[in-house]
Assembly symmetry: C2
Homo-oligomer: 400 residues x 2
């Protein structure tokens, strides 16, 4: 909890605390009287959760230390794959009808959700079931499966955090106020800076999965923040392309792409003082939009106060239009299932070559139809689009 | 139709013909009396289909030449993305209750499916809606979208073919006889060799999508064959890894992986004289099996008659076990939704570094649960597994 980034220049109050099992938990409040004020709300977690890292008793009655998630190196692709083989204390599970992201009920002594306080603006906390986590005392060493050099194995250190966008389970990110969206941007930037400082973290990804069609079972508006202990394949690929472009032209690839979109104008779907939203020229998803800052910026912590405020307005406008992209047979808008996430420069590599941008995409290709990632996409990594970027842009432009 | 591969050493009779709109169509028959025999069955296509490549009248009444599918270069990833912007003659569509892969009804003068004959063993034909196709006369030139060097565009030349595994709409690949499976392997090998010879084709992928869960709407047992005009991202990645391994060790990566699996034995789920089936050490899907030949073989055309026959038995056994991998609450086996495809060496590149193997995987992670490719996988290309390769192997080993 030490060494948190400085928030003194922002309009947000960050209140760090800890859940009963030791997980970090942060309130981000944007207006007085602060809902996480210690005078009026309970901040401590009253649940009888065991320490996550306390030794646990196995089926044989023998007590053993907990182990963290591991990851294996896929020698055929050069990619690390975290795997859910770890053993953790998981004695507490919210009931099936419980929304673990809802605020605690006022007056109740006990909460079966994850939020101790009875109200909040925005909160961030460590995921109860992390795929990436450092277990204290576990050595961060590479070993080899079967003793074979081809099969390296390492602890999947890093972090998986959850961010709740609203205390209202029926809300969506598109329905929050500009001030609240601004607070969410602040939380993303703050957590990115803090996670960048964790030993072993190479890259931070703030993203939202929205909609049952992509497997979301918890409809309370929330996102996730992953701090990876490796460069993700997508980032490696983009870095490779950006470095090659710089070596060939002396210029920044992502800046040139933005300038190309601005010069063409054909696929621009939103502009503000500091940001540009466009459908990329080779969009591969049925709906895809990128949002990039006009200024060269490697990541969210490097954005200015004005850029954050400006983004909030542009993004809300974009999300509201996306929820009208498809309409059903009666002409009623169908909220879009989507994945939206921030491509940020890694902690060390590519700080001058990669440039902050948000990528939002959907697998819905028609009111009743999804794009499935079948043989070509999942087997060979070769995407085939059923539409064109210009058609996507035209539809977004016609929605007020 | 000229220059077809030599089939004289096989047990299969290939009968090439042409559909009414000019698409190539091949019967592969494995026993006399051949069901595609011209004496007993109609081979011609009686449907009034227009020539696919005849000029078509636009909404403005002006007749224009058809255009083939185009693909755009995604400069952020270095990948080509075929896009469905082409205009083709598509006046004929089978009715919604029609199975276009069923044999024609005996005695009927007209068929509204794709198969003119009233019976078949295995057939292969060009897809009516190809994402990859060369339109005669269309120049295979690279141009640039918006005149911008960052946005290359090219015709998506190549081929998309359909392979029907059985005339029985209620069958599945796992239910065909070993002889029929052997014929299917023959058809895959024959089409791979033929497609490798097409100008512009760089790589051939024979695959099967099976199950509604991955978007299959046509349940007649069938697969697809794609001939790509580029190296797919997955193949490029594997080639990069294989070349690096050879430069470091002087050895073939895929051979070393197979030897590693054989030496360990921990994840072997099937062996025959010529083939080995194993769960890869870094399997990223909830169910994943690779099947590799014991001998160094770049692609299916290079396999021997004995290897093809041997594969048929091993693969049938594997498919039948996979359909028992998950059972419902009553203990009833649940047929597995899966994607299965052959990684083959490209036409030119990597013939000595890449090695034939089949990759079969499923998105089902529990009886009622699917693995969704959400933010980490679809946004960052970073897979996270909910299981371990050893658990997958143990389950397959316990199924007789």
């Amino acid at each position: 909890m030490t060494g948190l980034p400085d928030l003194s220049t922002t309009r947000v109050r960050r209140t760090p605390t800890t859940l009963a099992d030791g997980r970090d938990f942060f309130y981000y409040d944007d207006s007085e009287p602060y809902v996480s004020g210690e005078q009026t709300r309970r901040l401590d977690d009253p649940r009888p959760l065991p320490d996550r890292f306390a030794p646990i008793e196995g089926p044989d009655g023998v007590t053993q230390p907990v182990t963290g998630p591991q990851m294996r190196y896929d020698v055929l692709t050069g990619e690390w794959v975290p795997m859910a083989a770890h053993r953790m204390n998981r004695t507490f599970l919210p009931g099936p009808d419980t929304n673990p992201l809802a605020p605690a009920k006022p007056g109740a002594e006990y909460t079966d959700g994850e939020i101790p306080a009875t109200d909040y603006d925005v909160v961030v906390f460590e995921n109860r079931f992390p795929s990436l986590m450092r277990v204290p005392g576990e050595p961060d060493e590479t070993t080899h499966l079967d003793g074979n050099d081809l099969y390296p194995v390492r602890p999947a250190v890093g972090r998986c955090e959850v961010i709740c966008f609203s205390p209202d389970a029926g809300a969506s990110l598109s329905s929050v106020t500009p001030t609240r969206m601004r607070t969410i941007v602040e939380a993303w930037a703050d957590r990115t800076a803090a996670l960048h400082a964790i030993d072993g973290v190479q890259q931070v990804y703030c993203f939202e999965n929205r909609g049952a069609e992509i497997g979301v079972t918890l409809h309370h508006p929330h996102g996730q923040i992953y701090a990876y202990p490796f460069l993700t394949p997508k980032t490696q690929t983009m870095l490779h392309q950006a470095v090659a472009h710089r070596q060939r032209t002396g210029r920044n690839l992502l800046k040139d792409v933005l300038e190309g979109e601005l010069a063409s104008g054909r696929r621009i779907v939103g502009e503000s003082e500091h940001w540009v939203a466009y459908v990329p020229a080779a969009a591969r998803w049925p709906v895809e939009v990128h949002v990039a800052p006009r200024r060269d910026v490697p990541d969210l912590p490097a954005t200015t106060d004005a850029e954050r405020t400006d983004f909030a307005g542009l993004y809300l406008n974009l999300l509201r239009r996306l929820d009208q992209f498809f309409v059903d047979a009666d002409g009623t808008p169908m909220p879009l299932p989507y994945i939206s996430g921030w491509h940020q420069a890694p902690v060390v590599h590519g700080r001058d070559d990669l440039r902050l941008h948000l990528q939002l995409f959907s697998i819905r290709r028609a009111p009743g139809k999804l794009k499935y990632l079948a043989g070509s996409e999942s087997g060979m990594g070769a995407w085939i689009s059923d539409t064109t970027p210009e058609k996507i842009a035209d539809r977004l432009k016609e929605i007020a």
